[in-house]
Amino acid sequence: MKQLHELTIAEVHEGYRKGDFTCVDLVRHFLNRIEKYNPKLNIFLALNDQALIQAVAVDREIAEKGITRDLLGIPMAIKDNFLTIGISTTASSNILKGFMPQYESSVTGKLLAAGAIFLGKTNMDSFAHGSSTETSDFGPTLNPWNTKRLPGGSSGGSAAAISAQLATAALGSETAGSIRQPAAWCGVTGFKPSYGRASRYGVIAMASSTDSPGPLARTITDTALITKVVSGRDPLDATTSPKEVENYPQLLGKKDLSGVKIGLVKEYLLPTMREDVKQLILDAADKLRSLGATVEEVSLMDPKYAIGTYAVISRSEISSNLARFDGIRYGNKRDTFCPETKRRILLGTYTLSAGYYDAYYKKAEAIRTKMIDQFAEIFKTYDAVIGAVSPGPALLVGATKNQPMFGEMEDVLLEQSSIAGLTSASVPCGFVDSLPIGLQITCNQFQEKKALMIADCYQQNTNFNLFPDLNITL
């Protein structure tokens, strides 16, 4: 029999229906695990002191009305850049240390309306500036598979919360790779909806033209349900799409992939990539073929150009977005920004300044057009493209030292899809050195159902969805 922390959303609901356990039991179980493991892993920065009270209300609701809401009584871990009333929100920064939001982000509001219970807020790279959680002002999160290693980032705390089984599901956000890369390094499932699918309102901004909230969870099925809940037009975010949100979970469960055409991106098998990592991606391609898909090599722009393009676009937008932190209406003074944040603000100020705007910012935005065109051409023929999420497994704690472009370098295989606003899943596809490796399955903008359907079929037919035994790894 599975333990309470090993259950998917559907299994939790089944347990509630059958009366096997209550929501109070489940929340208490997770809070006990957090108390036990968090001091070592540094995943949660703040806990929701109302969680048990909310669980009591959920149990009462279930007794009276049954389960009528999608996420009723589902304990979740929330990345610390979502504004949450009643739970401190800092984006892992000293400048916002102790900040208590005055309003709720649209996405967390939707989760609450669907019945979710927030256990607490998770560590991240400070202001999401990084791919390690090592730039957090509150210390790095450690990887539950191996505590000498980083969980990835910026949604590293949310990914580690799933891997360490300290929550049933988690919320993260991507600017370029910040859901998929930590999901890969921690061996969990992450899903990046298209830009404009889920609202950015109340998410502490990084790069407003690519920021995309999305879930991390135990399975693609769970990410599909959460994506359905958080998606949709929001009058408070003018960039959200009016396109109808499909019932993603209902579109899953395909037995095979016959008729599906997948492109294996040649350039994503980097020359510098370890052979055993490459082999796992080629194995994944074979697996997809054996499920009935056609998989052929396709070609995209050399991803090395994505590093510079993304650096200019994101840092320019960062310099503008973080100008609001003036230490007057809220927060501390600007000198409390961490070095990585300062570095990004400064470079963005430089690329937007007179004389450099055309050479850098406009140039990067023109290359963005080229990337979009290349994807558009590929998606005329193919339903999805695949590749590794990250060039290798989780790196050691300390890896970011003296690496002023660590984040951009680590997300080299994810930046193009983020810059183009596409949707993409990250699913575990094997292990090297006992560390998980992730496969990205990327589809055209607003083709969430395709990405989820392919990723679900792959996940249902592979056995890489494993969780570390913390009694051994810690």
Partner: protein, 99 residues
């Protein structure tokens, strides 16, 4: 493409524009790292974009407007709005003197 060297003086100027105070050690460090980063960015010049328009946003949406009506449910009570400020005075934010 010639190598662009970012000098400590330039870093100081940018820091002023960004309203950031930097320690001398940071100025030196950032100047070196900037030079490294600009090197990576300058690789973009290898790509011909002479006939490509820039894309600033990818939604395909334009001129999204709303009715010009105040949503009273979203108005913060004064006490809440001021709650997180370091310094307030009789219901106002206190700002640093600028002139």
């Amino acid at each position: 493409m010639h190598k662009v060297i970012v000098t400590p003086e330039e870093v100081k100027k940018i820091a002023k524009l960004a309203y950031l105070k930097l320690a001398d050690s940071e100025v030196e460090l950032f100047a070196g790292q900037f030079t490294e980063t600009v090197d990576v960015i300058n690789q973009l010049n290898e790509i011909d974009t002479s006939e490509v328009a820039a894309t600033y946003q990818v939604t395909g949406l334009s001129n999204i407007t709303r009715e010009d009506i105040v949503d009273t449910t979203r108005i913060l009570p004064q006490e809440t709005a001021l709650r997180e400020a370091i310094q307030t005075h009789e219901g106002f934010f206190v700002v640093p003197r600028i002139i």
